[in-house]
């Protein structure tokens, strides 16, 4: 990166927010994706929309590539600059601009941390449901760019169900405003929804307006053990078929149960195939009725243990097994490869079985947990990056798992994004025509191809 260019950037955002020392570059060369790293040429931390616009205009003029980055919790390499370009770090833009209690919306700057928004709106009796696993550090801009999901997706949907308006800085520095506080809006293409999950390739968000809903009055948490995987999976399908939509319907497989028990000693049995964590929320009467319905479905499917939390503390205790799943798995081996294959929820049982068979075939340790109610599973391969042979087998295994996912009518990523990690599987999923349309859209937004190049396709 030329000194004169770095100087020009620092004139826009200030010298202290323009980082080019080797130490800083090393620290902005990764996100949460295993194995992937690449040092950017320079890092800038703009403080407002205007500065982002000027940075973009400068970069487009010079043909320098830009990768937007929130808190670097991306799991598909999406926030890594692979061509020594500019990393545009949004963490300074962290103000909640407005919570509009009349229109039930919140408008935030792009770098606001998701759980900060949760806290602020819940204090006013309101609710912003998307709760990705990284919500305590992920930014709202990153959530929109990746269309993040979370544990409450089954009942409440994911980020794009809540995005109402965006202020986006385009590649050439122009500011694009889409949507707003109106509930209905059919004026032209739905650019809002197009920008959600664009993975930083179409523009840089600077402000986001999201929909809020009333906070559920009450909730009930249940933990259920199943000796047989098929019965657990059937339970999931039958709960939905019984028109009960829990807020959370989470699944842990046998390998995960063992790791959780070894690590947290929460009293899980080691001889069961699956554990489901179920949470229903809403009006107290509805919650009682749903919980009773769920209990009878679980019993019909031969659960070996059914526990309902009597208090908030007990609910937290029951949820521990699911909450610590990733930690428990991550401690077993140094490198943790976490995927998010997603299938129609009726395919949960065959999918889990296939993952287990594939792990055996490639002699790998894979634990599976995840959002069973959404069909969104997290097969997690426990490996060691210093063992190239095992890493190779892990990638082969995931290749097979993704093919099977596509064959079942599923998708290669439910909530982590394509980034670079899943690029090679995308053509199989969307086909030539899908890619052609996506490239056309990319060209319309960013003709010089400077925004997060090399991601998605």
């Amino acid at each position: 990166m030329e000194d004169s260019f770095i100087k020009a950037l620092s004139e826009i955002v200030g010298a202290q927010y323009t980082l080019s020392d080797p130490e800083s570059l090393a620290c902005y060369g990764y996100d949460s994706t295993p194995e992937l790293q690449s040092r950017p040429g320079v890092v800038v931390l703009p403080g407002n929309s205007e500065e982002i616009a000027r940075v973009m205009a400068l970069c487009e003029g010079a043909g320098v590539r830009v990768t937007p980055r929130g808190s670097g919790t991306n799991l598909s390499g999406g926030s890594i600059s692979f061509d020594s370009g500019v990393v545009l770090q949004t963490s300074r833009m962290n103000r909640i601009l407005e919570i509009d209690e009349e229109n039930l919306t919140a408008t935030v700057e792009t770098g606001v941390i998701t759980s900060t928004l949760h806290r602020e709106v819940e204090a006013k009796g309101l609710f912003y449901p998307p709760d990705p696993g990284s919500m305590n550090i992920s930014t709202m801009g990153g959530n929109v760019a990746e269309n993040s999901g979370g544990l409450r997706g089954l009942k409440y949907g994911v980020t794009d169900d809540y995005v109402m308006g965006l202020k986006t800085i385009l590649a050439n520095g122009e500011i694009l405003k889409t949507g707003g506080k109106v509930v209905k809006d059919v004026a032209g293409y739905n650019l809002n929804q197009l920008l959600v999950s664009s993975e930083g390739t179409l523009g840089v968000f600077s402000e986001i307006t999201v929909k809020l809903i009333p906070k559920p009055q009450t909730k009930k948490t249940m933990l259920v053990h199943f000796p047989q995987l098929e019965q657990a999976a059937l339970t999931v399908s039958h709960i939905i078929a019984a028109r009960i939509i829990p807020a959370t319907l989470e699944f842990l497989d046998r390998t995960t149960i063992k790791c959780v028990e070894d690590y947290a000693h929460v009293g899980l049995p080691l001889d069961v195939d699956a554990v489901l964590l179920i949470e229903v929320d809403g009006h107290p009467a509805q919650v009682e009725e749903d919980a009773a319905g769920i209990r009878s479905i679980c019993e019909r499917h031969h659960c070996s243990f059914f526990q309902t939390a009597a208090s908030t503390e007990e609910a937290l205790k029951l949820a521990t097994a699911r909450r610590v799943a990733l930690s428990a798995l991550a401690r077993v081996r140094p490198t943790t490869i976490l995927e998010d294959a997603t299938v129609p929820r009726s395919c949960i049982a065959p999918m889990v079985k296939l993952i287990q068979d594939t792990a055996k075939k490639y002699d790998l340790l894979i634990g599976t947990f995840g959002h069973a109610g959404d069909g969104n599973l997290h097969p997690t391969c426990l490996t060691d990056e210093r063992n190239p042979d095992e890493i190779k087998r892990a990638h082969q295994a995931f290749g097979e798992i993704f093919e099977a996912t596509i064959a079942m009518g599923g998708t290669i990523t439910g909530e982590h994004g394509v980034g670079v990690a899943k690029k090679k599987y995308l053509p199989k999923l969307v086909g030539e025509s899908g890619l052609k349309v996506m490239r056309g859209i990319k060209g319309a937004f960013d003709p010089r191809g400077i925004l997060n190049p090399g991601k998605i396709f």
Binding site: P22, E23, S24, C27, R92, N94, G111, N136, V324, S327
Partner: protein, 413 residues
């Protein structure tokens, strides 16, 4: 350094919202994840120990909040400290470090003698004169800062005045060794006296060996691992030669270090046995909650609690101090927002990195004020020093006391 400890970091970023320096700067280089990456890149030969490099790693408070937050069990704070210890072993101690860490700190008599002029300085009224004339402005900033932090010192260090054996009141249920922290003895002797009184009133015979030495935490702070080992060996031998059920301390920093003697001495049997006997005072008192409750009298105070890093993050003690405060009838306990975030004291950090220390401290002060409490309770001398000064200057001022002082107040109310 064990390379596996570095590659265990999966860069998930869960540590970031818990790191005081990240929360102040939003910079990856000031985050635990960033520091692990820096040390790893150094080990891999991709980075050298430049001035910037040292500046980034030394910004770590070593509060270990990151360790509490890490899903995969990485302790970034400890890794950074370990890295700096290794570098120090290669480079050797400076003359000043040798003087302080080897010739002063491990010798309680010298340490006490060195602080004697301070006592004189306060008692003769010289302090008032110096302060009113603004004479400290001519001293180096670090010295002025240190002087400002100093509360009124006790007449004599507790180590000199305490009885070596304090008998149990009533039927004796056990014998505990009391590990007297240097700063507790030199500055907060009243709190340590309260600790001994509480223990003896609950039926413990308290043995306080006068020969005990500094726990070695300052050596760890100065990255002098050999000095630390020496301290560990000495104290292990001293306490293991007595018949003790537990070794109790009311200093969070000492407790954290003593519990790691086994680790520091590479698993030596005596050190490990010693470490397993070590208890923070709140751990012992919490097991006596029933008996204690009967003795406590009402205190109509609004109280909040600050978790010292060395208690919460290093020793995992969080519920016991709160439970003990709530034993006191009539107390209005208010949970402190971000209670387990560092106060910025962090050993000598507040002298070495005053700017960042002040930023971290000011966040703590704001949080304390949100509670509306009259008293802040904590249990580590570093936090006491830092918070006593800051909260006495706050509006309205908040009193800062050690946990055992609060319990003693209730006992004698």
């Amino acid at each position: 350094m064990d390379f596996v400890k570095l590659i265990n970091c999966m860069r998930c970023g869960m540590c970031l919202p818990h790191c005081p320096t990240y929360k102040e700067t939003f910079l990856e280089t000031a985050s635990p994840r960033g520091r692990v990456a820096l040390v790893r890149k150094f080990q891999e030969g991709e980075l050298v120990e430049s001035e910037k490099f040292l500046e980034y790693v030394s910004l770590c408070l070593d509060c270990q909040a990151c360790a509490s937050a890490c899903p995969c069990g990485v302790n970034a704070g400890e890794l950074v400290a370990e890295f700096r210890c290794e570098r120090k072993q290669e480079q050797g101690l400076s003359t000043m470090e040798d003087l302080i860490l080897r010739k002063l700190v491990p010798h309680p008599d010298r340490l006490e003698a060195a602080t004697a002029p301070l006592r004189l300085y306060q008692r003769t009224g010289l302090q008032k004169v110096v302060r009113s004339l603004g004479l400290l402005k001519v001293f180096p900033a670090a010295l002025e800062r240190m002087e400002g932090l100093l509360p009124k010192l006790p007449e004599a260090p507790l180590r000199q005045t305490i009885n070596e054996v304090t008998p149990a009141v009533g039927e004796q249920k056990g014998t505990v060794g009391f590990f007297l922290g240097c700063v507790m003895s030199l500055i907060f002797s009243e709190a340590s006296l309260a600790t001994v009184e509480l223990l003896s009133s609950l039926g413990y015979k308290v043995v306080t060996p006068k020969d005990q030495k500094c726990c070695g935490a300052p050596n760890m702070l100065g990255h002098d691992i050999d000095g630390l080992k020496e301290a560990a060996r000495f104290n292990t031998d001293l306490f293991q030669s007595q018949q003790l059920d537990f070794v109790v301390t009311d200093c969070g920093g000492c407790g954290a270090e003593l519990k790691k003697y086994g680790h520091h001495l590479d698993g030596e049997a005596a050190a490990t046995a010693f470490s397993t006997k070590v208890r923070d005072i709140s751990e012992i008192l919490a097991t006596e909650a029933g008996t204690l409750k009967e003795k406590l009298k009402p205190l109509p105070l609004k109280v909040t609690y600050h978790d010292p890093c060395h208690i919460a993050h290093c020793q995992g003690i969080r519920s016991q101090p709160r439970a003990l405060i709530n034993l006191i009838p009539g107390i209005d306990f208010r949970e402190l927002p971000e209670a387990d975030a560092c106060c910025g004291s962090a050993g000598t950090y507040n002298i070495e990195k005053p700017e960042m220390s002040d930023r971290v401290l000011s966040r703590k002060v704001q949080n304390v004020q949100k509670t509306g409490a009259d008293y802040l309770v904590t249990s580590n001398p570093g936090c006491l020093l830092q918070l006593k000064k800051a909260l006495s200057e706050a509006n309205p001022p908040v009193k800062v006391i050690h946990l055992t002082e609060l319990l003693q107040m209730s006992l004698n109310a």
